[in-house]
């Protein structure tokens, strides 16, 4: 015998009510799904990235710190192996030199020596294509995956590198990834120049031979014992290396790639922390509006259900079921969408950044927390209307809703005060009064609009700031066209020669010195650029202290605000500067505190620069050139041909690379904008559908007595604009605050650029919001047009 399953009547009613309002419920489910998608998507992405980075650091034995020296015998490694706290050591030669990417395009390659008898015990590499080096390979190499894929230098190809006196062709045996170059950058805050800079691993013996550094290492990579303090161990290692001129010690946290990956994870975390609560808050408001309207419109049915004997609990459950269905629908869609978004983002990391060990994970705890978030948000939105339904007395419920009437018999305050100045037309006054008719609903709609605008505006503000960096920073702050760095000093004669090259419009020499700047409170590792007081290649934004010329003439140091705060110094305070070139420290006075958007560059005079490297005369190892655009390429090639030229940067190419890199971020900007506009649409659509449903008879009456649909549409638009009037400025203000907060959370030694909001952005966001508002009116206006006037004028509201 087949047992018939009977669906409880109230459950059946819930289902039919949803079908009758499928547009509204679908919109609410989409809104909740957006919140959950953003949560799951961004968390998945940063967890995938974080897990990949952790895996890479672990599997490829990333160093806890590295120490650069001028040059030490290979045997020093054995001395370091026995330093307390040291677990593994790898001594390597790390040399930056030029390379010919194509016949006409040059770049910088970092050549790193690796053992061929065994794999490196620290800073190992992952062979993605080809094979690891053997002793038979001679001067062959393994090339970093990102450069190899970007330029087509794959296994079997060759790469031409400069060796001081000449060039050699290095056969490529494999394409590799590395934990210390997940992001292939040379310094913290540097923009990855994917097709300009790469890493080439070669047999350590070959590197020694080619660069004439027999039996030498200049880079010591160390992994410490579990529980050991890397800083203390580094101190002991530095003591051992003292005779070989310690140039720089870099802890893992300051390692350029490690820091860049950390920044990327931090950005994803910031979005994951801001976006979902924002969207879910809007969902709660919209759901509250829709369910309140549902309860109001079903007062008669609630009264009847109670009269028939349904308990308060059953009625409460019935209306909470709507919330739960939306929560479930939103969660399922959102988790699926979030998983897809997380996967897409991860795939972009794989395709664009070639991050090793990157997998698309499914995180059960994220799924559970998404379900919980969706449930809590929707149920909390439905609780008030559901309790209101349960509290209704049957007899009272069957009467029309007194809330629909205008209470108190007063005009809205705004009309009482400013009515004299307002248009007398009812096409203006009716919508204005409607706004104050359901004050709570209007308030929530205003908040909803504000949140949607917030999301769009904050995104656009971040976008503006990045564009400012690209368009203004590189013009106002970085005033050179080509920069070149040398591994060895350049003579004044050379500088004067270059000045006369075709295409060179100006030349300003400088000296870059790696330093440790210390106070009693902290130490900051970085570089000081020594320059002429009249030099103009770098534009300063001085926050406190002397203007640049005075500061440099007074032989002080100019430091960025981030460093000043870290060191706890102000203008006039003294800092100790330690360089690898002299035994004793130099004390300098802080003359100015500056605002620097990228990195933490410090500046001093050329005389002080000479003092820092222990030279009695001025020295130069960097040149900043002004150049005619059509000569830039030729100049770059010629500069690379100079002895000791390690890195030549053409600003236009740097900006282009930055734009390329930003294309990854544009996806997120686009996504956030789409979310914002969609949210705005749903908020207005939900509110206005509720309003139109509630005022069906009223609207039908207006049409019956002769109001045309054009004027009714105008009234709907005006009512929405009255809600948008406070909503849009509030959203702009909140958006600026959120953008400021996000910028502050991202600010550090790498990026510290200001929040710059273009004036047009205010206009675009306002106009865009109004356009979305007009679009979201279309469904409710269509409902007005389709009204059966004869029927609708008889509806009991």
């Amino acid at each position: 015998m087949v047992r018939q399953v009977r669906v409880p009547m109230l459950v059946l009613k819930t289902w039919r009510d949803i079908l009758a309002r499928k547009g509204q419920f679908a919109a609410l489910i989409v809104l909740v799904a957006l919140g959950i998608t953003s949560y799951v998507g961004f968390i998945d992405a940063y967890r995938n990235l974080s897990a990949a980075a952790d895996n890479a650091y672990e599997a490829l034995k990333m160093a806890d710190f590295t120490v650069s020296v001028g040059g030490a015998p290979t045997g020093v490694v054995h001395k370091i192996e026995v330093v307390p706290g040291v677990k593994s050591v790898e001594g390597r030669l790390v040399i930056d030199t030029g390379m010919d990417i194509t016949e006409t395009n040059q770049g910088t390659v970092r050549v790193i020596g690796v053992p061929v008898g065994h794999r490196p015990v620290v800073n190992d590499i992952l062979v993605e294509q080809g094979r690891y080096l053997t002793s038979e390979d001679g001067a062959a190499g393994l090339l970093h995956t990102r450069f190899a894929r970007a330029t087509g230098h794959m296994t079997g190809g060759r790469l031409t590198i400069r060796t001081g006196g000449g060039k050699i062709d290095v056969p490529i045996r494999g394409v590799v990834a590395s934990a210390e170059y997940i992001f292939p950058v040379r310094a913290k805050g540097e923009i990855p120049a994917i097709d300009e800079f790469t890493i080439l691993y070669m047999s350590s013996h070959e590197v020694e031979r080619i660069f004439r550094r027999q039996s030498q290492v200049n880079d010591i990579a160390v992994i410490v014992e579990a529980g050991a303090d890397p800083k203390r161990v580094a101190g002991r290692v530095e003591d051992v290396l003292e005779p070989y001129t310690v140039l720089q010690t870099v802890q893992r946290i300051d390692q350029p790639s490690y820091a860049a990956v950390g920044e990327e994870i931090k950005q994803n975390q910031s979005i994951a922390a801001v976006m979902p609560p924002l969207i879910l808050a809007i969902s709660v408001l919209s759901l509250y509006i829709a369910l309140s309207r549902l309860v109001q419109s079903q007062r008669g049915e609630i009264g009847l259900a109670k009269a028939l004997g349904y308990s308060n609990g059953a009625v409460l459950g019935h209306y909470l079921l709507f919330s739960l269905i939306i929560a479930a629908g939103g969660a399922v869609l959102g988790i699926a969408g979030g998983w897809a978004l997380g996967n897409y983002t991860t795939q972009m990391y794989i395709d664009l950044l070639h991050i090793p060990y990157l997998n698309k994970g499914i995180y059960i705890d994220v799924i559970f927390s998404a379900l919980l978030m969706s449930g809590v948000a929707c149920v909390s939105a439905g609780l008030v209307p559901a309790f209101a339904s349960a509290r209704l007395a049957p007899a009272k419920a069957m009467h029309s809703d007194p809330n629909l009437a205008v209470k108190g018999g007063r005009l809205p305050l705004v009309e009482q005060v400013f009515g004299w100045a307002m248009p007398k037309s009812f096409s203006f006054r009716v919508p204005l009064r409607n706004v104050f008719r359901q004050r709570r609903r209007s308030l929530y709609t205003v908040i909803g609009i504000a949140f949607a605008v917030l999301l769009v505006f904050a995104t656009m503000a971040m976008f503006d700031s990045v564009n400012w960096l690209l368009d203004d920073y590189f013009q106002i702050t970085e005033r050179w066209d080509i920069s070149v760095g040398f591994e060895q000093p350049v003579s004044g004669t050379q500088v004067r020669e270059i000045e006369h090259w075709d295409g060179v419009t100006s030349i300003q020499p400088a000296l870059a010195v790696p330093v440790e700047v210390s106070t009693a409170r902290a130490t900051h590792e970085g570089a000081v650029t020594a320059m002429e007081p009249v030099a103009t290649f770098h534009g300063f934004d001085v926050l406190k202290g002397d203007d640049p010329r005075t500061a440099l003439e007074r032989n002080g140091i100019m430091i960025p605000k981030v460093v000043a705060e870290k060191l706890g110094v102000g203008v006039g305070d003294r800092v100790t500067v330690d360089t690898p070139y002299r035994d004793e420290d130099v004390t300098l006075v802080v003359r100015s505190i500056t605002n620097e958007s990228l990195g933490t560059p410090m500046y001093t005079s050329l005389d002080t620069g000479a003092e820092l490297i222990g030279s009695p005369t001025r020295q130069y190892n960097a040149l900043y050139l002004g150049a005619s655009p059509r000569y830039e390429k030729a100049l770059k090639d010629d500069l690379y041909d100079l002895p000791g030229a390690a890195q030549v940067m053409v600003k236009n190419q740097v900006v282009a690379m930055f734009r390329d890199m930003m294309s990854f971020s544009y996806f997120f900007f686009g996504l956030l904008l789409a979310f914002g506009f969609l949210m705005g649409f749903v908020v207005i659509y939900t509110t206005f559908t509720a309003n139109v449903l509630e005022r069906t008879r009223e609207i039908a009456t207006m049409r019956t007595i002769g109001e045309d649909t054009g004027h009714l549409g105008l009234m709907v638009t005006l009512e929405n604009l009255f809600l948008a009037l406070p909503g849009i400025p509030l959203g702009l203000w909140l958006g600026a605050l959120v953008a400021q907060g996000m910028m502050a959370s991202l600010a550090g030694e790498t990026y510290n650029f200001p929040l710059v909001i273009a004036r047009e952005t205010y206009l675009y966001v306002t106009v865009g919001s109004i356009v979305v508002l007009l679009f979201s009116e279309i469904p409710p206006i269509r409902r007005i047009l389709r009204l059966d006037l004869a029927e609708a004028t008889k509806i009991i509201e």
């Binding site: 205008v406 009716v430 008719r437 002769g706 649909t709 008889k794």
Partner: protein, 244 residues
């Protein structure tokens, strides 16, 4: 008796039919109705529920269109009118009084009346009517600044009558205007309609309440979508005399 050509008929229905299609079934609501109503007449339409009286009223008011036949109001054939034309027609020619008053809740009594005047003024000269005067006429001179929620049902319906008059319509249509009122206030509203008629307006009142129809000059008895009987009331009663 004037010939049809001499008569000033405000309403002319010729073989007007209305068929509603419900799924697979055709439901005739009005069958070949012929009707002429001269200007200034007060006509009551009575009949049981579903007889077609409201359908006829809706077609006369431009809220519905006939499936067959022809409708002429104030000398204009509205049979093939578009939605836009019907809107203008309603705006200019018709005053409605609904069962549920249907006032705009955000507007005061005076503004509800003024709203209709504003509509009528949109495409031409404003009607020479003063909302205050109209409200005074229906006995609401002291309540002009009250919102509908502050008025009783009878008061609301009298505002609705004033609103219907505001645009100086050629035809006033009342669909059960006393159906939602008690006896006393119902009579007040009926009195207002009667007064309107005395001033020359053509009034058509739909009701299922036969005694109330005795205030009219003519009573149309409708059943099954057809006018079964037309009864001329020799001595229409005053609303005060009605008992129901």
């Amino acid at each position: 008796m004037p010939t049809p050509a001499e008569r000033d008929d405000v309403v002319v229905l010729e073989s007007a039919s209305k068929v509603y299609r419900m799924g697979e079934v055709d439901i005739p609501a009005l069958r070949d109705v012929d009707l002429r109503i001269p200007r200034g007449e007060f006509v009551a339409v009575v009949g049981p529920s579903g007889s077609g009286k409201t359908t006829m009223l809706n077609m006369l008011g431009g809220l519905d269109t006939p499936t067959h036949g022809r409708i002429e109001v104030d000398g204009v054939d509205i049979t093939g009118y578009s939605e836009r034309q019907l809107t203008l027609f309603r705006r200019e020619k018709i005053g409605f009084v609904f069962q549920f008053f249907n006032l705009i809740p955000t507007l005061t009594a005076e503004e509800n009346v003024q709203f209709a005047i504003e509509l009528a003024s949109r495409d031409g000269e404003p009607p020479d009517t003063d909302p205050r005067h109209l409200l005074e006429k229906v006995g609401l001179g002291e309540r002009i600044h009250h919102f509908p929620s502050q008025l009783s049902g009878g008061e609301q319906q009298r505002v609705a009558v004033a609103r219907a008059l505001a645009k100086d319509p050629v035809l006033v249509l009342g669909d059960e205007p006393t159906g939602n009122l008690d006896f006393r206030t119902g009579k007040l509203v009926l009195g207002a309609l009667k007064e309107m008629n005395r001033e020359g307006k053509t009034v058509i009142l739909v009701t299922h309440n036969t005694p109330l129809a005795r205030v009219a000059d003519r009573i149309l008895h409708i059943r099954d979508g057809q006018i079964m009987e037309q009864e001329i009331v020799e001595n229409p009663v005053s609303p005060d005399e009605i008992v129901w």
